[in-house]
């Protein structure tokens, strides 16, 4: 028998309460060991308080060729950003 350990993607939530962030990948025979390996590989410098792992083959990614239709339409929705609106200084902080 010769079978490579599957690849896992590792997501870690850091100390400051931000979202889990993708930090890298590793190999492990199953999910439980992937968590342990992630602890040993990716939190050696006190980087995390929570780990997620997902087998790489289960990640569904957006298609690079659809980059235009997917992301460009939001370019011109400038009114979604606070700097779009001029508020007089007298009003104070808003």
């Amino acid at each position: 028998m010769k079978k490579e350990w599957p690849l896992w993607e590792v997501f870690i939530r850091g100390q400051h309460g931000l979202n889990h962030r993708h930090v890298g990948s590793l190999h492990a025979p199953d999910a439980e060991m992937a968590i342990k390996n992630a602890r040993d590989v990716y939190t050696r410098r006190n980087e995390g308080v929570s780990i997620w792992v997902v087998e790489s083959k289960h990640i569904t990614a957006s298609s690079p060729s659809e980059r235009g239709p997917l992301f460009e339409p939001s370019n011109d929705k400038v009114y979604r950003h606070p700097t779009f609106f001029d508020i007089p200084d007298e009003v104070g902080h808003m």
């Binding site: 028998m1 079978k3 990948s25 025979p29 690079p64």
Partner: protein, 330 residues
């Protein structure tokens, strides 16, 4: 460097006009500073060159564990032992990150390791030199990591996203490696006469091999030109080597150690040091397998891999049993 003499397509750089529309769009994205991500279209040459380069870099990290690992059990204090172990462990981590980056290009880690073990892929020439005294551990951190950092810092801007992200993580972690090496050298250079002698001897032995790490002059190399156009190589070998010498000479002076090069002299005109070339025939011999430790280094990697086969397979067998049992229960 950690990736020396990586072959690219061998065809030289095409003019934008000679490229297919896909190639041109790709090159223009790189020129604009965009990152190329896995699964996006890329020229086959780009993919293959990157696999070779990242793979070689990864191999260098894990083979690079061995010369320093050699002294973990002999480190002179508990603190030095912990620091060295943490550093060599980091190198395993760096190898791991880089293999994962290569895997996004459609090659598996096991395939890359098999190519290393069969001699079909190389690792950096520097790790075929022996570590004979504790001062060598200082010299490796100071010179070898110093040379590596010189190359890796610009590679954080490389065009391939996963490679760039791996380099960013590696550079962040490596920042302590060179300092720990220099710290050992300071203690030795200011220590007893025997310690100082060891420090000088380590510098004598590691100086030229460190210069070789950057690879031979590549100003006329078609491989380098293509890799630079693709931004998977950022500086020429000569630029980096010059920068390394300029940075290292004052550090050696501070230690009161002498760089083993009679021709070393400040050149006001170019604003850098003139220095002697390493013996390139030695470099090619080391690459061919005739360095002092090639057999030991590769032998140790192959042994670790073969001896560990039952372990990897045993854990896989358990995981498969568990998942079969889980399926049966559903």
């Amino acid at each position: 460097m950690y990736a020396q003499m990586v072959k690219s397509t061998g065809e030289g750089v095409k003019d934008l006009k000679e490229m297919s529309p896909e190639e041109r769009a790709f090159q223009e994205r790189i020129d604009r500073g965009e990152k190329i991500e896995p699964k996006e279209w890329m020229p086959e040459g780009y993919r293959k060159t990157l696999i070779r380069q990242i793979g070689q870099h990864a191999h260098s990290e894990i083979v690079g564990q061995l010369p320093e690992g050699n002294w973990i059990t002999r480190a002179p204090t508990l603190e030095r032992k912990a620091i060295l172990l943490a550093k060599v462990q980091d190198e395993a981590g760096h190898g791991l990150y880089l293999y994962c980056a290569a895997e996004t290009l459609g090659v598996s880690r096991d395939e890359l390791l098999e190519k290393l073990h069969s001699g079909n892929m190389k690792y950096s020439s520097i790790f075929n030199y022996p570590t004979l005294t504790w001062a060598d551990i200082g010299a490796i951190g100071w010179l070898v990591d110093g040379a590596a950092i010189m190359n890796q810092v610009p590679l954080q801007r490389t065009s391939y996203g996963p490679y760039s992200r791996a380099m960013i993580r590696i550079c962040k972690e490596e920042s302590f490696h060179q300092r720990q090496g220099y710290d050992i050298m300071m203690k030795m250079a200011k220590g007893t006469p025997e310690q100082k002698e060891m420090a000088q001897d380590a510098l004598n032995r590691f100086w030229y091999p460190s210069l070789m790490m950057f690879g031979p002059s590549d100003k006329d190399s078609v491989h380098s030109a293509q890799s630079m156009a693709w931004k998977i190589k950022i500086n020429t070998n000569d630029e980096l080597r010059q920068k390394f010498v300029d940075q290292t000479v004052p550090q050696a002076e501070y230690l009161g150690l002498t760089i083993p090069d009679e021709n070393l002299a400040w050149n006001e005109e170019k604003g850098g040091y003139d220095f002697s070339e390493p013996d390139w025939s030695e470099f090619y011999e080391v690459l061919k397998g005739n360095g002092p430790c090639n057999k030991e280094r590769l032998g140790a990697r192959v042994k670790a891999w073969e001896d560990g086969a039952w372990f990897r397979e045993g854990l896989m067998a358990h995981a498969e049993k568990q998942s079969a049992a889980k399926l049966a229960a559903e």
